[in-house]
Symmetry: none
Subunit: 249 residues, 2 copies
DNA sequence: GCATGTTATGCAATATTATGCTGTTTTATT
DNA sequence: AATAAAACAGCATAATATTGCATAACATGC
């Protein structure tokens, strides 16, 4: 394996996990820890990551997580976030709903890209404000305590006045025939409004949510344009969503 | 687990709970208290938190401080916040502008008191959401990066639709004849709108700001109802504000 | 093809760091 | 003042880092 390949591998691990252990990588790549140590030293010197005792962490290593709750299957969400990033283009206007997957996405937005981001989610707004070239517009309103997003008439009203390029719609449940569903009525209203406010809809969703069903319907599957999971696009679990004019990522 | 990760974890706990106990963290992370003690010692030395007997507490509140700016006169602001609390009554509707003093106030609001709080400030909203009996309504809009509050037409428009009992107006400069002033035009607009939206105006202000002057005027001193400083109300430095129909606290 | 220089890698010896443990001192609280 | 909890200092151990060196792989010019 080439040194360059190792470097890319390490950087990728760091991006996805926020941290790596020397021993893990050495193990995975079947090289000595010394080699990995040297790799990380170089990457540290070129400021691609931060070397720490025992491994390395990503540069903007901060796990700001206001609720302090553990993020469930963070790794998968991190992968999804990485894929989602590829849909975002310089200068676009983006709408981000709440949810931990979108939080991962927000965290990964490069500081140098110029964007305008709308969001009703408090943690996401906090995250986005650290990006110097991202203009953040908060969709205000009554804050829901557990989801930490704004809900209610005022927020929906504000949404009705915008039309963005792309919306990342945090997805709780997605079902091939029943569509996207939620258990919280107020959040359903918000998400419906977000769909109306956006030209393209992206549904980032970990695969275990596929096929699940909740009480209230947000929209049909056909209304979304991209479905991102941690799986490969050709995975059999996604078969139900083919031939539906949805792009799988 | 890497030391770096522990550090981030501790900082996060401090952010969320304002204080942490050594034993709790050691328990949570399955390491010895000594290790955590050493961690906290380091974080204390790098001024990320404040070490206290038995654990650690956050520096200012918004220790999540992307710009890394120091929070000035922490102690005085805490005193002011305590005084301000006495003005808040069960069931009221309160409007909080941004600023570190108001942040201290928000953090001190007892969880058991029932309130409705409006605010355009991100850190304050984050803090308020931890209070189970406080209904939080965020004044949305374009977010100003350094002050972390919403500004612009949308926010001002939202303010124009409310009338609250009492407004705590974070004050940058207050002058007996020139009134309240600010250096940021957009924030001036927000504060003006906040004044119109409130029956009573409270100006929490550390004494060193008294007599200072900035570029743009928010309002005359007469328009505020309460002036809170860290000084005793009969302090000579406040003489200029007597006989002005302002209550000094 | 061959000599030479460069780079990458692994290895071993040594140094440094991180962590937990013990015993003692300090601090907060009753 | 008595007490319990916490802080501290010092030490032992294990993990990680550093350094120097030997070898192997590779490129380059002849």
């Amino acid at each position: 394996m080439l040194k360059e390949e190792r470097h890319q591998f390490i950087l990728n691990e760091v991006r996805v996990h926020n941290r790596v252990l020397l021993t893990d990588i050495a193990d995975l790549l079947h090289v000595s820890v010394d080699t990995i140590r040297r790799d990380i030293k170089e990457l540290h010197q070129s400021e691609k990551l931060k070397k720490v005792h025992g491994g390395a962490v990503s540069l903007g290593f901060n796990n700001y997580n206001p609720t302090g709750k553990k993020i469930y299957s963070q790794e998968k969400k991190a992968q999804i976030a990485e894929k989602g990033l590829s849909l975002i283009k310089e200068g676009q206007v983006v709408l981000l709903s709440g949810g931990t997957t979108n939080l991962e996405l927000a965290r990964r937005i490069p500081s140098k890209i110029k964007l305008t981001c709308f969001t009703p989610s408090l943690p996401i707004a906090v995250q986005l404000l650290t990006k110097s070239n991202v203009e953040v517009i908060f969709i205000g309103g009554r804050m829901s305590k557990d989801s930490q997003i704004a809900v209610g008439g005022s927020a929906i009203n504000m949404l009705s006045e915008i039309k963005v390029d792309i919306c990342f719609l945090g997805t709780n449940s997605i079902h091939p025939t029943e569509g996207l569903t939620e258990f919280d009525w107020e959040i359903v209203q918000m998400k419906k409004a977000m769909i109306h406010s956006s030209r393209k809809i992206v549904s980032p969703s970990i695969s275990e949510k596929i096929g699940s069903l909740q009480r209230y319907k947000i929209c049909a599957v056909e209304e979304i344009d991209f479905l991102i999971t941690e799986l490969e696009p050709w995975d059999a679990k996604l078969d139900a969503f083919r031939n539906m004019n949805i792009q799988l990522l």
